[in-house]
Point group: C2
Chain length 340, copies 2
C-alpha cells in the first residue's frame, strides 16, 4: 500500500483552451481512514467534454470548481481498505470523484460497480459509466425516435455519438447519418457501426452533406457539438422534429457566451422541441439502462472503441484531445491495473 | 351590393421593414358566384406579427406568399351572397383569407363564427380568432405551468401576451412578470390585468429587471419577441424549465438569419425544453379553446384591449405598428360595419 497519492488540482481558470498549467499534479500523504470511509485505488477514469464546463465560472448544472480544488471526474476503482459498511474491500466502486490514483472517500457519489460477466472492466466502464446511459437517455427518452425516422448525430465517432447511432438503428430509425471529422472515422461509422451515411465536416459543408443524405428531412437531431452542425440540422428538420442537446462542445472553450443557432427561428417554423439534459440527473435509473446496454453489448449490437491514455499524469493532455477531435473512441485514462 | 372589391396585393418583397410599396391596394370587379362559392363582406381583420413572416422568402410553416398574390390575413365577415351549402346568407364566417373588403371564396379555410351572446363581434373576434387560442395552447399545453410557478411573458401588453399573463394567474402561477415597452403598458398589466410585476424594457435592462422580480428564478418563459428578452429569460430559468417560443418578432424584419440566443447553452445547464408552435396546427380544437376563453371573458377573468385601425386602406400602415410597439392592445382593422 503506498503512503502517498497523486491528485490533480485546479490551478488556473482557462480563458479558452485548457493550458499546461490549468491543472497541476501534486503528491500528498494518504490520510488514515476514519469510520465510514474507504480508500479507493483508481483503475480507469472517463474523460468527458463536460469536464471542461466544470472549469468555467458560468452558471452551470454544477457549482463551478473553485481554484485550488481537486479536479473531478468519473472513476472506477478497487476498494483497497474499508471502514465503510457499503463498500467491502476487494470490490469495485464507480463515482464522480477526484482525479487521483488513490483517494479516501466517505463514498458520497459512489455506487458499487458489479462488472458484468464476460465483459472487460475497460469495456464495461467505458460504455456503462457515462457514455452508454447518456446515449440511451438522450436518444430514447428525449429524442424519442419512431420507426422510419431519420436521425442525425454530431460528433458521431465520439463515445456518445457512436452509441446513439447504433441505438437509433436498434430503435428502428430508417436512416442514421453521422457527422465526424475524418474519412477514417466516417468509414468506421458506416462499415463497422451500421450508420447509413457519414459526413466528414472537414471535407464538405455539413448542410450540403445533410441535404444529400437526408432527402426526407430530419426527424431527430442529436447534438453534441453546436455551431455549424446544429444550424445545418435545424435548417433541415421536419415539422414537429425533436432536437436533443446533449453537448455543445464547440462553445465550452469560450469564456464569453457565443451566439445560439442562427436557424433558431425554425423552432417556430418547424414546430420543434429542443431539449437539453444532464446524465447526472438520471443516476437512479442507471441499473435499468445498464441492463439494456449490457444485453446489446453481449448480442454484438453495440460496438465501440476505447481510446485509453496511460497513467494519471496523462489526464490533462488527454482531456484536450476531446477539443481537437484527436481521440479515437471513448476517451479514458488507465490510472492503475485492473484487478483480476 | 357593390360591383367592385378592394384587395391588397403583394408588390415587393421587403428586405427588412415593410415599406409603402410592399403591398398595394387594387380595385377589381366582383366576379359572379359559381356553385359552391359565397361572397364575404369583411368586417374585422386581425393583424398579427406572423403576417410579416409570410412576406419573407424563408422556409417557414407556410409557402412564402408569391409576389403578385393577394395578401393574407384572418378575417371575420358576413356571408352576403351564397351558393355554398355550408355558409348561409346573413351568417358570420371566419378564416384565413385575402386582405379584401369583399371576397368570393369556396369557403376553404373558413369556418362559421357563431358570435357568443353578450360579447361584441369586435371583442369576440379580437380574442377568439387568433390571440386567445394562441395564448391558451402556448401557455397551458406547451408551457404547462404548475401552481406556484414563476411565469415571464414578453410583449406582455400585446394581444397574446396580455392573455397569457392572465391565463397564467388562472392556472395558479404564483408570480407573473410581463415585459413591455412603456410605463403606461406596464401599469395596465399590473393595475388592470393582475400581473404581479412588469418591466419596461425601454427604461431598464431586462436582465436586471427580471433578477429583481424573479428572485426564485423562472419556471415558464413565454417568448413573443426573441433577442435580449429571450437571453435574459434563459439566464434566469430554473432547472427543468419550459421556454415557449410563440413569436420571434425581433427577427422577422431580417432577410438574413440572426444569431440565436447567446445563453443557448442553458438548454443543457438548466435542462430546459424549448418548444415552438404555430396556432394553425390546432384549428380543429378551437371550439374547445373558445368555450374556455368565452367562460373566462364572461367571468371578467380575461381583460383585453383592442386597437382598431379604420378602413381596409389603413391595413399596411397598421401592420407596421406591431414592429414599433405602436399598437395598444390587439391590433385589428375594421373593414366594414358589424352586422346587427
Amino acid at each position: 500500500m503506498p503512503e502517498t497519492a497523486q491528485h490533480w488540482y485546479f490551478n488556473k481558470r482557462p480563458k479558452d483552451v485548457i493550458e499546461e498549467d490549468t491543472l497541476i499534479l501534486r503528491s500528498e500523504p494518504i490520510p488514515e481512514l476514519k469510520d465510514g470511509e474507504f480508500l479507493l485505488r483508481s483503475v480507469y477514469m472517463s474523460l468527458d467534454a463536460t469536464n471542461r464546463v466544470w472549469l468555467s465560472d458560468w452558471d452551470t448544472y454544477m457549482d463551478p470548481l473553485p481554484i485550488g480544488a481537486r479536479m473531478l471526474g468519473f472513476i472506477v476503482g478497487e476498494v483497497v481498505k474499508s471502514r465503510h459498511a457499503g463498500f467491502a474491500e476487494g470490490t469495485l466502486a464507480v463515482g464522480l470523484t477526484t482525479w487521483s490514483d488513490y483517494v479516501v472517500t466517505t463514498g458520497e457519489g459512489f455506487v458499487p460497480f458489479p462488472k458484468p460477466e464476460g465483459i472487460s472492466l475497460a469495456d464495461a466502464f467505458g460504455v456503462l459509466a457515462v457514455a452508454g446511459p447518456t446515449a440511451y437517455v438522450g436518444l430514447l427518452e428525449i429524442g424519442k425516435p419512431k420507426a422510419g425516422d431519420t436521425l442525425v448525430v454530431t460528433a458521431a465517432a465520439g463515445a456518445v455519438g457512436a452509441l446513439v447511432g447504433q441505438i437509433g438503428k436498434i430503435a428502428g430509425c430508417r436512416k442514421v447519418v453521422g457527422i465526424a471529422g475524418s474519412d477514417t472515422k466516417c468509414r468506421w461509422l458506416v462499415d463497422d457501426l451500421g450508420f447509413d451515411a457519414a459526413i466528414n465536416y472537414n471535407k464538405e459543408d455539413i448542410l450540403d452533406g445533410l441535404r444529400r443524405e437526408c432527402p426526407d428531412g430530419i426527424d431527430v437531431h442529436f447534438e453534441n457539438v453546436g455551431g455549424e452542425a446544429l444550424d445545418a440540422g435545424l435548417t433541415l428538420m421536419n415539422n414537429f422534429g425533436r432536437v436533443v442537446i446533449c453537448g455543445l462542445i464547440s462553445t465550452y472553450n469560450s469564456s464569453e457566451p457565443v451566439p445560439g443557432p442562427y436557424m433558431f427561428r425554425n423552432v417556430i417554423m418547424k414546430r420543434l422541441t429542443i431539449e437539453g439534459f444532464v446524465i447526472l440527473d438520471y443516476a437512479a435509473r442507471f441499473p435499468e439502462y445498464h441492463e439494456k446496454l449490457v444485453g446489446w453489448m453481449r448480442d454484438g449490437k453495440l460496438k465501440y472503441r476505447l481510446h485509453v491514455a496511460e497513467g494519471l499524469e496523462s489526464a490533462q493532455d488527454a482531456l484536450r484531445l476531446l477539443y481537437t477531435g484527436g481521440n479515437n473512441g471513448k476517451l479514458m485514462v488507465r490510472i492503475g491495473a485492473a484487478p483480476n
